[in-house]
């Protein structure tokens, strides 16, 4: 379908993007890789009055290692995360997740900032950001991941706020993210990630609720000596996923347990 009409401007800098958003008012939206926004516009599920295109904002496209932190510009594309040595060495799970977001064409356009700002419950990076306690930096403030995601498609950002950077502490120990899906390029029906960090485990779940989930009950069970099988039984504690075309709530809870167990075992190299 053809999207509804909108005004369009390219921004050359974050400052310009913010002032364009303010000029166009609250129905305006940032256009990053377009791979969530444009499909929604084609279905007319989104009808922004204006788009502020930040594809030309060079200052938002970088990967740097500074003071033991990996800093990633919001406009860094999936394909760049996949292939970046700093990412592979310092937060390898991020590179591996990027390699499985959509397909080549999606990865050539879609951005890390776009996934985080869009806050789709099936998005993969929000889970990683939550479990690794990443920091999300905008033109106005800095958020801990746990305070950034508010609901499905909803973040703590205001209409004239631009996500600029994601900051990860180095996490290069044993890890595994498993995405259960029917076709290679599909979104996760359920996803589970396990990362060994500072002697403990971080466990995160994708698409088992409106927002990403940190499975603290599993983390605690592992810390008190449970086996992966025993600990993973807690992966569905407190979950109340909604069913969709591909999975019922019970099936999603089942997947959360099974995938968590496999993620921990595979991270351990078992």
């Amino acid at each position: 379908m053809i999207p509804a009409a909108f005004e369009y401007e390219k921004a050359g800098s974050v400052e310009e993007a913010v002032s364009l958003l303010q000029r166009f008012g609250e129905d305006a939206k940032i256009l990053a890789g377009g791979h969530s926004l444009i499909p929604l516009m084609r279905l007319r599920l989104a009808q922004p009055s204006a788009l502020v295109d930040i594809n030309g904002v060079k200052e938002l496209n970088y990967v740097r290692l500074e003071g033991g932190k990996l800093r990633i510009g919001a406009m860094t594309r999936h394909v760049e995360l996949q292939n970046n040595d700093l990412v592979r060495q310092n937060v390898p799970m991020l590179a591996e997740i990027a390699d499985e977001v959509g397909d080549n064409q999606v990865r050539n356009m879609g951005t890390i900032g776009g996934v985080l700002a869009h806050a789709d419950s099936a998005g993969d990076y929000p889970t990683l950001a939550l479990m690794l306690e990443a920091e999300l930096v905008t033109n106005k403030s800095r958020y801990q991941a746990k305070d950034f995601f508010k609901d499905v498609f909803t973040t703590a950002m205001a209409a004239d706020e631009v996500l600029c950077e994601v900051v990860f502490a180095v996490a290069n120990g044993p890890h595994k993210y498993i995405k259960f899906r029917r076709r290679l390029f599909d979104w996760a029906i359920v996803g589970a990630g396990a990362q060994k960090l500072n002697g403990g485990w971080r466990i995160g779940l994708t698409n088992v609720g409106p927002m990403p989930v940190r499975a603290t009950a599993v983390e605690q069970a592992l810390a008190s000596g449970a086996t992966p099988e025993q600990a993973a039984e807690h992966a569905s504690d407190g979950l109340n996923p909604s069913g969709d075309l591909r999975a019922s709530p019970d099936y999603k809870k089942h997947l959360a347990r099974v995938l968590t167990k496999r993620a921990i075992q595979q991270a351990q190299g078992a």
Partner: protein, 171 residues
């Protein structure tokens, strides 16, 4: 309000006035008259609309024409040299990599990108490289075979593009 966009399509410079909401695929088909690029879905899933922007494969239904300002776009029409088909086109023909042919332009463009990244892919790498393209007819076996055959005929000719930034979308 219409805006001016200037870009290169298959080596030819063009300048047109377009509405911002015009998708690149509609621009290519309806404004530039290049109907080889197909539209198979509304959800950015099928890949029938795949074109190259610079050296990157993108879905031209998931980008606005105004975003292609200054871009170098290549479509299926740009592959053959006169009567001489591109090795991938020839291989799809020889290996029966198509039935109805609706998905074929997208597969071939995705294949061109795949072989530019990885001139000698394994069958698994071919399947992963084409994951963004759907075919309702062939069952994919002959498509994979066609890409394998093309990789052989192109042997040594493919250059490894730099693994850096996607500039698709341009500035």
């Amino acid at each position: 309000m219409k805006r001016k966009v200037s870009l290169t399509v298959n080596g030819t410079r063009r300048e047109d006035e377009v509405e911002p909401r015009l998708l690149l695929v509609h621009y290519l088909r309806d404004v530039a008259g290049l109907t080889g690029t197909h539209i198979g879905c509304d959800t950015s899933q099928c890949g029938a609309c795949t074109v190259l922007i610079g050296d990157k494969a993108v879905k031209s239904c998931t980008m606005f024409a105004v975003q292609a300002q200054d871009a170098d776009v290549q479509t299926i029409e740009g592959l053959a040299k006169g009567d001489q088909l591109h090795p991938l086109q020839q291989a799809f023909w020889d290996e029966h990599g198509l039935q109805c042919g609706f998905c074929t332009p997208g597969f071939i463009m995705a294949g061109v990108y795949l072989l530019s990244q990885n001139p000698n892919p394994t069958d698994d790498e071919i399947r992963k490289g084409l994951e963004g393209n759907l075919c309702r007819c062939t069952g994919y076996v002959n498509i994979v075979k066609a890409v394998r055959t093309a990789a052989k005929t192109m042997g040594g000719q493919t250059k490894q593009p730099q693994a850096t930034a996607a500039t698709a979308g341009g500035d």
